[in-house]
């Protein structure tokens, strides 16, 4: 991606065609990006500038909305507690996923168990099953265990959501570790934990990072489980967002500022690690 090689099609095309295709590319991409840009812009407006039928493209930017999102205003809570829940749930579930997935991926690639193929497909088949198929018992079990509206509940469930993806991804990275390296460590008498720590993890650390990124994205953005199983004490950022839509009074700038904060962590991480995204999203199929 980084090397901007001129492909054959480029060299053959007429200059005008090239220019038009370039302009078209920019227009199409900007249309797709526009909602994100509009969200960021509206968040920097005053409510007077945001709530107009003729949109203001030129305005005096203000961070007032960000301040009130942070502190809470007009009977609304501030964002920090929700942000805290989101961070805890995302970080802990991602760590748990890696902790469970790495040994499992090892047993499915480097020293495979006998029915490794069936196990691999068991993991992926759980991903195909609709969450609605489990939400009712999950709700009732959580209620009986007093786990409703608790971060621990979301931690467990997000781990389950991301574990299959992580197993598939990590397996694809483990398959690339040279067999001789692991064999040498084993001959030296290294057990599983030492093999992982001394040999494997250093080699596949980019893969671990890519896996963590994907888990982070899915956990941070998850809504269905959060909205059905939490209200206040375990509620994450998406719940905060839907909670403060007010039927009366202008709130567009306020909403946009909150939405921008909510999107920023994943946007920044995704932009920074974009060359790792394809492999992660395809669960390791596309290298």
């Amino acid at each position: 991606m980084k090397q901007q090689t001129r492909t054959l099609a480029d060299r053959q095309a007429k200059p005008l065609t090239k220019l038009l295709l370039g302009v078209l590319t920019w227009i199409v991409v900007l249309i797709f990006f526009f909602p994100v840009l509009w969200m960021a812009l509206t968040g920097l407006k005053s409510e007077t500038d945001a709530n107009t039928s003729t949109p203001h493209f030129i305005f005096k930017p203000t961070f007032a909305q960000y301040a009130s999102v942070w502190k809470g205003a007009g009977g609304l809570n501030g964002l920090p507690p929700y942000l805290e829940h989101s961070v805890i749930v995302t970080v802990v579930s991602t760590l748990l996923v890696l902790l469970l997935a790495l040994p499992a991926a090892y047993a499915l690639s480097i020293r495979p168990v006998r029915k490794w193929r069936d196990v691999l497909f068991f993991f992926i088949s759980t991903k195909m099953l609709p969450v609605v198929g489990a939400i009712i018992p999950l709700y009732l079990i959580a209620r009986n265990l007093h786990l409703l509206d608790h971060v621990l509940l979301l931690i467990i469930l997000y781990t389950a959501i991301n574990l299959p993806i992580a197993v598939w991804m990590l397996r694809s990275f483990l398959l690339e570790v040279p067999a001789e390296v692991i064999e040498a460590a084993r001959v030296d008498g290294a057990g599983l934990v030492r093999q992982l720590r001394r040999v494997i993890i250093p080699i596949i650390s980019p893969g671990l990072a890519a896996t963590a990124l994907i888990c982070f994205i899915f956990a941070w953005n998850e809504f269905f489980l959060a909205v059905n199983l939490t209200t206040v004490n375990g509620a994450t950022v998406p719940i905060y967002l839907v909670g403060f839509v007010q039927p009366e009074g202008p709130f567009l700038a306020h909403l946009s500022a909150a939405a921008t904060i909510a999107c920023l962590p994943v946007l920044l991480a995704g932009w920074a690690a974009q060359d790792k995204l394809v492999r992660g999203l395809s669960m390791g199929a596309v290298k």
Binding site: M1, T7, A9, L21, W26, V28, V29, F32, F33, P35, V36, W38, M39, T42, S53, P55, A104, A107, L108, R111, V113, R117, F121, F122, T126, L129, P130, V132, G133, A134, I135, I136, P137, L138, A160, L163, P164, L175, L192, W220, N221, F223, F224, P238, L241, V242, V245, L252, S256, A259, T260, A262, C263, V266, W271, D275, L281, A285, V286, K287
Partner: protein, 316 residues
């Protein structure tokens, strides 16, 4: 949930195990797998067994003391006479198939554009992945209130010169709204996959075809499209898995409405369970959805295992 794996065609073995290894060794090999397997089993399979059990009861949280009549087929009988359920099935198909197809077509198109030399290509690539990264909840709210709103929405402002400035998109074109939202969100995913596919294409092969006098369209049909095929298949497969469960956008933008125009199965089950508190009926619907999913997934898994064959796919 249920093992749909047996029918999957063989994937080439990566490292063949030595024959005649001892029993104890095969147990040691399983140890690293156990925590993940047990965890997944408890969290994803157990609830489904309970769903199945509830589906044969008349169980409504509004009437906790009412007799549950276990076992009863009452819930299933209700569902088969329920026209909203049929609508929800059709809506699910429509609101999955159209966004998947649209995002693949647009995604391949954008990938073809971005695969050329374009000024600021890296920057454009960074921008195009954004819709997929933003929190769906946040995006849905922004779409609903700042873009699609009849009065304050910026879309109607742009459309005013074309005489469409007063369109009530969410109210009058709710299905189109949801389709557009899902397509917008999933196109970047298809772009990334297609770009990976395009970059795995050999330049010399294209060069040879061109020397032989093949036109752009023929090269696209005969060389590029077959090259992209596994990437597109993977995109369709993974896109469908996620889009069929679409909930955030529907919950926020249309709330399944107007009437039941955008009520898909996840949303209808959500309404039955968490607004009508009819646990029995919602469970029965969930069971039907899961059975349908297993049937479809059996086919899908065959496709996956052919995609994830040993050679893998090379991109970038």
């Amino acid at each position: 949930m249920v093992n749909v794996v047996d029918s999957a065609p063989p994937v080439p073995k990566v490292r063949t195990a030595r024959p005649g290894r001892r029993r104890s060794e095969s147990w040691i090999r399983r140890v690293p797998l156990v925590p993940a397997l047990v965890f997944m089993f408890i969290v994803t399979q157990l609830p489904f067994v309970l769903t199945l059990w509830y589906s044969f009861q008349r169980y409504n949280l509004n009437f906790p003391t009412a007799p549950r009549d276990f076992p009863t087929f009452w819930n299933y009988a209700q569902i088969f006479g329920d026209h909203i359920f049929r609508t929800a099935v059709l809506n699910t198909v429509l609101l999955t198939a159209v966004p998947v197809i649209a995002s693949v077509v647009i995604g391949v198109g954008i990938a073809l554009l971005l695969n050329r030399y374009v000024f600021g290509r890296g920057f454009l690539r960074t921008l195009i992945i954004s819709p997929f990264l933003v929190m769906p909840t946040a995006a849905a709210l922004v779409w609903k209130f700042t873009i699609l709103d009849t009065t304050f929405g910026v879309l109607n402002f742009f459309l005013r010169p074309f005489g469409l400035g007063n369109t009530n998109w969410i109210g009058q074109h709710s299905q189109l709204t949801i389709i557009a939202f899902l397509t917008w969100m999933w196109t970047p995913f298809m772009v990334l996959l297609s770009l990976a596919g395009l970059q795995s294409q050999g330049e010399d092969q294209l060069e040879a075809a061109r020397v032989d006098g093949a036109g752009s369209w023929r090269i696209f049909r005969a060389l590029t499209l077959p090259q992209l095929r596994p990437y597109i298949e993977l995109g369709v497969l993974l896109g469908s898995i996620y889009i069929v469960q679409a909930f955030d956008g529907i919950y926020i933008i249309t709330a399944g409405g107007p009437s039941t125009d955008t009520t898909n199965l996840p949303y209808y089950i959500y309404q039955t369970a968490f607004q009508a508190y009819d646990i029995g009926r919602a469970s029965a619907m969930a069971v039907i959805v899961v059975i349908a999913t297993i049937l479809i997934a059996t086919v899908a898994l065959r496709l996956i295992s052919s995609i994830f064959s040993e050679e893998g796919m090379r991109g970038r």
